[in-house]
Point group: C2
Chain length 317, copies 2
């Protein structure tokens, strides 16, 4: 089973490797749309990847993630690093007032050539966000961005999968968060390597931080890393420097303990597994159409063949 | 790929075909646990199936579905029919107070040999409820029950799939339901062929019925069948006879218009498709283990092989 269709132009790939913004944007659009030839293009970029450090930022809608990401981009830029940002939108990037508003605000970096910001949906990508996001990260990585932030809207299963595919995961909550996201609390605790109580000028901040600290006593899985709990008021820029420091500290922890290579290998295994599953599902769907399939269904409906025997008789499965 | 393992004893299959209760219970347990040899056993039962008429009963937790099912069983028994009931429990049948309570209450039929009641979880079944339920229905069908009721707890995606696999779907709501299950409203409207406002001695019954009638003006997909909206107080037995009549009317509608055969063929296609997908996923999972897989992952982690090429190189996918 090979990926058919028109190849992505060699010229585009070379321009991505040269770090050209428009080429990067174009290739991410092709990924988003599940275009033909993307797999081949990514195969050619792949040897040039693995240099970027990736940070996932997640939390409930309205928690101020985008503002925090915005400030964090500025902090890393001030430190001299180029930065890429992928903002995962569950729907199209051009619907949804709040999301659009966020993107517009992030365009404060629009004139900064060292920042590439891109919101991404998954209009046609087989396997959805969980497979499209690592591909988009690789494009920014190959284009030479040493820091890549992936911001997700919401805290559902697919968002969690997305941020779990990054090196460091930052979970953003607000004072009083425990009441509103009760259901996802345990899940968020498990994935976060750094916790930020944003909007920390509001009542309940101290309680939220203490609450988190207590739960982290028991809940975190990361060996040897105790997730810090930070306070921030992203709208005023408070806490951004501390968050940057915490990210750098977690990176050092992973790099010095050998955890980074181990984590990335684990993620490579997950990704290959996901792709295999997705290809198997696609192949199975293709088998379940056409005249031969309909004839089998007729036999099943007529009770001359049982459904499991029919399934077994479908070639290639 | 064949189903390995110990075959289910021929004697058990013969006892199921003879309608023996303990054999029926035993085979449903084997299905629940995803035991080896079940596929073969069901293949042998399959020619003896297709005679039962199946009714799905669904609605939110606490809507009184179980009481209604209980009354309906009594009404069909009074009409002379033998009845099978499968109550789908999302977890084990022996946890959960309300569920256990329901089952105990249904044991009012315990001394009636013409009624077989069984709650079912899916402890080990590959493909979950959506594949296990048709198998369990087939056991009751082969055992000679002409009417089979499938009751689901809750209104989630998998419960909807379960009741959609029956000939007639009854959706149970309560007065004021619109406020509480807003999110599932459209989904429930689409699957129901008969609607029952249970606990109709409570305020808001008329509004709930009118609300449903209005939405059904626009919402229902079934050709030529306008779903009736009934009122019931199952706890007092009110409305049960009307519900039985509505089920019989829907059955006549399907049988006379040729819709029953068409629907069952469509469901057969769905089931074969599900089994094919499940088998493909299981095969893919097996491919993603072992030394060869780990070597591929090493190559991906070392950037000498991209994840898509690794996935393509895995045999059989």
């Amino acid at each position: 089973m090979t990926q058919a269709g028109s190849p992505v132009a060699t010229e585009l790939i070379e321009r991505v490797l040269a770090g050209e913004r428009r080429a990067v944007a174009r290739l991410i659009s092709l990924i988003e749309n599940g275009a033909d030839g993307v797999e081949e293009a990514l195969a050619r970029l792949y040897p040039a990847t693995g240099n970027a450090y990736t940070v996932g930022i997640t939390g409930a809608s309205g928690s101020g993630k985008s503002t925090l990401t915005d400030r964090l981009v500025a902090a890393f830029r001030a430190g001299g690093s180029e930065v890429g940002v992928i903002a995962i939108d569950p729907s199209s990037p051009f619907t949804g007032g709040a999301i659009l508003g966020d993107r517009v605000r992030m365009q404060g970096h629009a004139t900064d050539r060292g920042v590439f910001i891109r919101s991404m949906a998954t209009r046609g990508h087989l396997g959805g966000l969980a497979l499209a996001t690592p591909q988009a990260i690789r494009v920014l990585d190959a284009a030479g961005k040493p820091w890549i932030f992936v911001e997700t809207v919401g805290v559902g299963q697919s968002e969690v999968e997305v941020v779990e595919a990054t090196d460091t995961t930052v979970v953003v909550v607000n004072p009083g968060w425990g009441d509103s996201v009760q259901a996802n609390k345990a899940g968020l605790l498990e994935i976060g390597e750094i916790f930020v109580v944003n909007k920390a000028d509001r009542p309940g901040t101290r309680e939220a931080m203490r609450d988190l600290e207590q739960m982290l006593e028991f809940g975190h899985r990361g060996a040897g890393w105790r997730p810090p709990v930070l306070a921030a008021v992203a709208a005023e820029g408070t806490g951004t420097a501390e968050l940057r420091e915490a990210i750098l500290a977690h990176r050092r922890h992973l790099e010095e303990g050998g955890g980074l290579a181990a984590e990335r290998r684990r993620r490579a295994a997950d990704e290959v597994r996901r792709i295999v599953m997705e290809r198997a599902a696609a192949a199975a769907r293709r088998c379940c159409t056409g005249a031969a399939f309909e004839a089998l269904v007729d036999a099943v409906a007529g009770r001359s063949l049982d459904p499991y025997a029919a399934a077994r008789s479908i070639e290639g499965v």
